[in-house]
Symmetry: C2
Subunit: 347 residues, 2 copies
């Protein structure tokens, strides 16, 4: 069955397509006068024909396609699916739809996502950028086209792109200092991929904290890994077998999932947490407080982040002034049992 068009309605009503269009768009309320009869008749016929406006056609002529693109590395990561959820809710509220696209932490895929969204003429884009600075020219390309976009979770200092970020340098610095305050000196960091956005800042925070506390950085304690539980688990298992853990007194994971894997591997090796070794994560996933040893972590307020990104994007789309082009959502340390030494120093 074909879709009914505005033409079909016009024909059946004996009116012109212009009139049908006006009725269907409720132009009556906007000053354009339409007779009640006509309006009623057209509405009735539209219902009979089960008419649905063709948004593709409408977009071709009109301005705003009312679609927003979201580019993220991986929807399976807790942080991103929460962001996606809250963003989706906000968009729903004002009648925008969402195209979700994955970069898989891969700059080429990210660039393809950007081009696709431009080709689909979305109203705006929110990007949690994948890697280093490789795609700065692609981003500049979006800006040159005048299509609004927001960087989420990361910003490029020199470039002045709009952004909502969480200050992970600061967040990880506070976390690491907490570990030091709890008495740890040999602090391992299972840091993910060193070229990936989420890791770069966290490593910087880690190093800053150690330096400020006069603890020499030991590169053997900075470990590459993936971002899943399995990655934390397998990395630590391997290191345990190599005997690396003899003098390590704390381990931080690049995110909570990795931290849980770390915890599991340590416990399997007979280490008690926090008595023998401290463990901390980052991001405060939904389930992180629910483990048997509740996990110390840093809360990134996802709903807030999504809300701010959405609000900023809407302003850009509507051509309004954005007062604060680089929002910084503060993170906060969440101390739980996994780093609480009984009788140890206070936080």
């Amino acid at each position: 069955m074909k879709y009914a068009t505005i033409q079909d309605i016009a024909l059946k009503a004996g009116k012109s397509v212009a009139t049908v269009s006006r009725v269907l768009n409720g132009k009556a309320r906007k000053g354009i006068p339409i007779s009640d009869e006509t309006a009623e008749q057209i509405l009735r016929i539209a219902a009979e024909l089960d008419y649905r406006p063709n948004l593709v056609a409408r977009n071709l002529v009109g301005r705003d396609s009312r679609v927003v693109g979201l580019i993220i590395p991986d929807i399976m990561q807790s942080f991103f699916n929460e962001i996606c959820y809250h963003l989706s809710r906000e968009l729903d509220r004002d009648g925008y739809d969402l195209i979700l696209s994955h970069s898989y932490e891969n700059p080429d895929a990210e660039r393809r996502s950007i081009e696709m969204l431009l080709s689909r003429r979305v109203s705006g884009i929110i990007i949690a950028p994948a890697m280093g600075h490789k795609n700065i020219d692609a981003l500049s390309g979006i800006r040159k086209r005048g299509i609004p976009f927001i960087l989420l979770d990361r910003y490029y200092p020199g470039e002045n792109f709009h952004s909502v970020s969480t200050g992970d340098v600061e967040g990880f610095r506070v976390l690491t200092e907490h570990l030091v305050a709890q008495g740890a000196r040999r602090i391992m960091f299972v840091a993910g991929n060193r070229e990936t956005s989420v890791s770069i800042e966290r490593i910087e925070g880690y190093r800053k904290a150690l330096a400020s506390r006069g603890i020499g950085a030991d590169d053997d304690l900075l470990i590459e890994s993936g971002y899943f539980m399995e990655d934390g688990y397998s990395v630590v298992r391997t290191l345990i077998e190599r005997g690396v853990f003899r003098d390590v007194d704390a381990v931080a994971g690049v995110n909570d999932a990795v931290a849980i894997g770390i915890m599991t591997a340590l416990e399997e090796a007979g280490k008690r947490i926090p008595e023998d070794i401290l463990v901390a994560g980052y991001a405060n996933d939904r389930y992180s407080g629910y483990f048997r040893v509740p996990l110390t972590t840093v809360e990134q307020p996802k709903r807030d982040i999504a809300g701010k990104a959405h609000a900023m994007l809407m302003k850009l789309i509507k051509g309004e002034e954005v007062a604060v082009p680089h929002e910084r959502v503060p993170c906060s340390l969440v101390v739980r049992d996994s780093t609480l030494v009984k009788g140890g120093a206070p936080v």
Copy 2:
């Protein structure tokens, strides 16, 4: 800055739009002859102008918009974000993009999502339907329009819609029988919302298992809840305070998140798992094997489910015959420590 159009290129090259279109679509390889010079020239100008095809315009004239819609209740649930990830990967591979839309377990929102996707003229839709049978007419509407869609995770026996489902009746029956085999008789089920798709079948499986083992169903043991960890936790806490747990010897959660909440509440109340009480979940979330008491659950092969749904949808979009219109992906029991009674009966 405006987007460059095919016209701009034609003008600059002194050629017609038709020729430009042909070059840009690589029609040369399809038998339509184009001089190499012209092709080269046009490609060069297109690059200079940073031309991006307007997919909106292309969709208006052509057939397939190469967009697939996915409607799910909630991307934060592990099952759905894994499905979404794998689906997205498959779609990427053959050049389709994804519109993600939430139903929030709400049939009205689901209906709006459907209409939106129809209006946007997507090539196909995959739906994990929210509730009971409320939207059957909306689904029939999609079918009447001839746009391909697949029901995911659920099917309506009478309606003959294409579907990929996991046989949760069977899955939960096997799980419950396992609990019985481990010696449990008073088996509580924290079941989610009784009208919601995921719960209906699981309750049926639970009841079947009890009946087949000659255990009378006690409605006091069938508990309503939400679908998050917090829901499992708070429900069980309340029940513990009411003394309900005195004779309960196993608790099943409607999913793993809920089961983790249940475990936490029980342990806080001093119950040992599995010595004092068995706990099981459903779906086999990524982290379910990583808890201190690894969780017994039922594996739903998400990648497989997503892959089958994708393959079926692509066939429908291409107008090919679908041999098996109702795929059933088998689930399998995953027994872990949370239900393994030491010295108890075998599985």
